[in-house]
């Protein structure tokens, strides 16, 4: 509290005020709070309200029906399946991402010839706008002209008439969207993991070397625990982004074939927007919120606990 009392004037008193932590903090935070409150908080409250009403057809009000929307959704097999699909989609794609990004980050941390150009290739999926690359994947998975199919046919692993339809069966379609989601998240996670590795102070490395810890043992006992906080944050972001994002399933499969790749976000969109059941759509979209909030708080708690400083 380095405020020095200097005599005289409103100006000085104002300066004094901004020296106080609380006041300055409030001043600096208030634009953010205001902004988020208005543009996220208010619509969120409205959405919660809508989920308890029978609002239809794009309107923002409706007759109150309590928990009926939620009860109705739980009776709907498509909704229940969507919960499972969301879980599968998020868990598998992020598991793949974590493993791949972890490996990549460790490999990239030290310089080697060609690292710059290889890093460029690795960053491409994240640099490209996902809405566009998803459309690009429609082309890669196209029923007539899929390059993957052409490869397989060339290698005589499948016949031209009996080729796999990448988006045509539930398993294939789910695998495809998981692949694309993992593909585009790996660079992002790699960068964050790299940051985590880079944050390990040199002294720790040196100490480990002196103690004879190398390779896998060093990884397990030294690197991993130190990277955990950042790794957890990366995983958390990945989970949250994937669970709340609809671009990949929407563009690639529109939830199909026969609703077998509907995730909660796309089903909420389908129900609430395209079919005009706004209240139901809100209920579906909100369903994830408590679960995600729980996961978030849990992971942040562990991340803080894991901080080793």
């Amino acid at each position: 509290m380095a405020a020095v009392a200097v005599p005289g004037g409103r100006r000085r008193r104002l300066r004094y005020a901004t020296e106080r932590r609380g006041v300055l903090a409030a001043l600096l935070i208030s634009p953010a709070v205001l902004f988020i409150g208005l543009l996220v908080g208010a619509p969120l409250v409205l959405a919660v309200y809508l989920s308890f009403t029978d609002a239809t057809a794009g309107s923002l009000t409706g007759p109150w029906i309590g928990f009926e929307n939620f009860r109705h959704e739980l009776r709907d097999p498509i909704f229940v399946d969507a919960i499972w699909h969301t879980f599968l989609f998020t868990a598998i794609s992020q598991a793949v991402v974590i493993v791949c990004a972890g490996l990549l980050a460790h490999a990239l941390v030290h310089a080697f010839p060609g690292r710059w150009i290889l890093r460029f290739f690795i960053l491409l999926p994240w640099a490209a706008p996902i809405a566009l690359t998803a459309i690009g994947f429609l082309w890669f998975y196209d029923t007539q002209a899929s390059i993957f199919t052409w490869f397989l046919v060339k290698l005589h692993l499948v016949s031209a008439t009996n080729h796999p339809t990448w988006l045509g069966t539930p398993t294939a379609a789910m695998s495809s969207i998981i692949t694309v989601q993992a593909w585009r998240t790996i660079p992002f996670a790699t960068v964050i993991f790299l940051a985590g590795i880079a944050s390990i102070p040199q002294e720790v490395d040196d100490a480990a070397a002196i103690d004879g810890a190398t390779g896998l043992r060093k990884f397990w006992h030294v690197s991993l625990p130190l990277q955990l906080p950042i790794a957890l944050v990366a995983i958390l972001f990945g989970i949250v982004f994937t669970a709340t994002d609809m671009v990949v399933p929407y563009i690639l499969t529109a939830g199909g074939p026969f609703n077998s790749t509907q995730v909660l976000t796309t089903w909420a969109f389908q129900t609430g927007i395209n079919s005009g059941n706004v209240g139901e759509g809100a209920a579906i979209a909100l369903f994830m919120l408590p679960l995600l909030a729980f996961v978030t708080i849990a992971m942040l708690f562990f991340a803080r606990r894991a901080e080793v400083t």
Binding site: A57, S59, I78, A160, N162, P170, G255, G256, F258, S275
Partner: protein, 464 residues
């Protein structure tokens, strides 16, 4: 592009900039091969004075580009005559529903909104269009039953849209391939018999069971040929019948023996089955004549153009009953800024039905009896030079005899709309065709979902 402005006002400069930079002189005229969707901005001055009114409309990018090349200049001329600046926006058809919801939520948007299916769900957000229909009827004859059934709610006695056109839905098939197996798609039994042979040749059938509009139309029409209807004439659900189960089983058989898994992968993409045909793979698809017009134009599949035949929907045990492929419906929002101009525009557009039909190369059929009587359409079709000669004349037969509204024998209503939007019918078929569920179970589950939906909309007082 003739620009009659003398001095550009500051607000208009960016539009002019855009017109110059994006080479959108073509967009302004809507001609000369500008096939990209565009925003049409009519001239703002006409005969030396500023146009006083303003009208905005949203419509799709027509699958037959010549229609848009007619519509935009027509709208511009209309604007000049009526002292209104008309702006027509064209977007991808897949985005129309989302945009409609956004405009309603925002309570602001385009004055006129077009969609490829009647937006029964938005009935409360649009005006009653009966005055427009009366006005047009006075000029070009009665509003056809198919249009009436599609855009009228008997419970609220309200016209929630005006259909300016409908599109007959034929099967488009490769005559050379079917000839090679000695078959033709006269009945569904014929199709089932030919399917395995065609697939063996590497040219499977291509009737979609995906989550997109073409699959919806094809499968619902197919069901009707088997006597299976989603609702009856009183708009009460009637899905769970033996006919439905038979239909599902039949289509599953065709899928198993004569189609590949491609038909399940066309989700969100109404043009996928078209492209299946253009690539030479499909031996039969269920589609409007854009499937023949595009090859004819040379844009894709040109080498097959002469072998593509157009026939009505194959007959089933219950007869030959088809749906329209698309129902072009315009709605005017209650919050439209220029309702009088919108009503005028819509009326005049319907009155110009004959031009629309001709300019869309017989894709759009007028919804008012005398706009272009079937006889006239047949004459134009007979004069069509594409091979085999006279192939388009069947369209009038299809339109007259085999085309009905979605929800036949009832009306198109919000419940049907929701069933449509959630693709419950393709789901019902696809689950069985892929062997995931038995036909009985699939139909039963879908029936439960459908009854649920009907009950919901009935409670909201939107169903008779």
């Amino acid at each position: 592009m003739t620009d009659t402005r003398d001095e550009p006002a500051p607000a208009l400069l960016s539009r002019r900039e855009f017109l110059k930079k994006a080479g959108a002189g073509a967009a302004a005229l809507g001609v000369a091969g500008a096939t990209a969707p565009f925003s049409f901005a009519g001239p703002l001055r006409y005969k030396g004075r500023w146009l006083s009114g303003s009208l905005t409309a949203l419509t799709w990018v027509h699958f037959v580009p010549s229609y848009d090349q007619w519509l935009d200049p027509w709208a511009k001329a209309w604007g000049e005559k009526n002292d209104v600046q008309v702006t027509i926006e064209h977007i991808n058809n897949a985005l129309l529903d989302t945009r409609a919801a956004a405009e309603v939520a925002a309570q602001s948007g385009h004055d006129l909104f077009f969609n490829l299916h009647p937006m029964a769900v938005y009935e409360d957000q649009v005006i009653n269009h009966s005055s427009i229909i009366k006005e047009v009827e006075a000029k070009v004859g009665k509003y056809l039953p198919i249009a009436q059934q599609s855009t009228y709610n008997p419970r609220t006695k309200k016209y929630f849209a005006v259909s300016d056109s409908y599109v007959p839905d034929p099967v488009v098939w490769r005559h050379d391939l079917w000839n090679a197996v000695g078959e033709s798609p006269a009945t569904w039994d014929h199709v089932k018999a030919a399917a395995p042979k065609l697939k063996a040749m590497g040219h499977p059938i291509g009737i979609g069971q995906s989550q997109e509009i073409d699959s919806n139309m094809a499968l619902i029409a197919f069901m009707m040929c088997f006597g299976s209807f989603i609702q009856n004439e009183n708009n009460k659900p009637t899905l769970l019948t033996k006919n439905t189960i038979d239909a599902v089983k039949f289509m599953a058989e065709i899928a198993r023996t004569g189609e590949t898994n491609d038909i399940f992968s066309w989700n969100g993409n109404a043009a996928a089955n078209n492209n299946y045909l253009y690539a030479g793979t499909a031996s039969l698809i269920f589609n409007a004549i854009s499937a023949t017009r595009t090859p004819e134009s040379g844009a894709a599949g040109g080498q097959y153009a002469d072998d593509l035949w157009i026939w009505p929907i194959p007959a089933g045990p219950h007869g030959r009953i088809g749906l329209e492929h698309l129902m072009g419906c315009w709605s005017i929002w209650k919050f439209a800024k220029n309702r009088p101009a919108a009503e005028r525009f819509l009326a005049d557009l319907c009155i110009a039905g004959k031009d629309a039909t001709i300019q869309s190369q017989l894709y759009n059929f007028p919804t008012f009896a005398n706009a272009m009587p079937f006889k006239e359409i047949r004459k134009v079709a007979a004069a069509d030079k594409h091979k085999p000669l006279g192939k388009y004349t069947i369209l009038t037969t299809i339109a007259e005899k085999y085309t009905h509204n979605i929800g036949y024998p009832g009306t198109t209503n919000a419940a049907i709309d929701e069933i449509f939007q959630k693709y419950l019918i393709p789901q019902m078929f696809a689950q069985v065709s892929q062997g995931k569920l038995s036909a009985e179970d699939s139909v039963r589950h879908t029936n439960t979902a459908i009854k649920d939906i009907y009950a919901k909309w009935r409670k909201r007082n939107m169903l008779a």
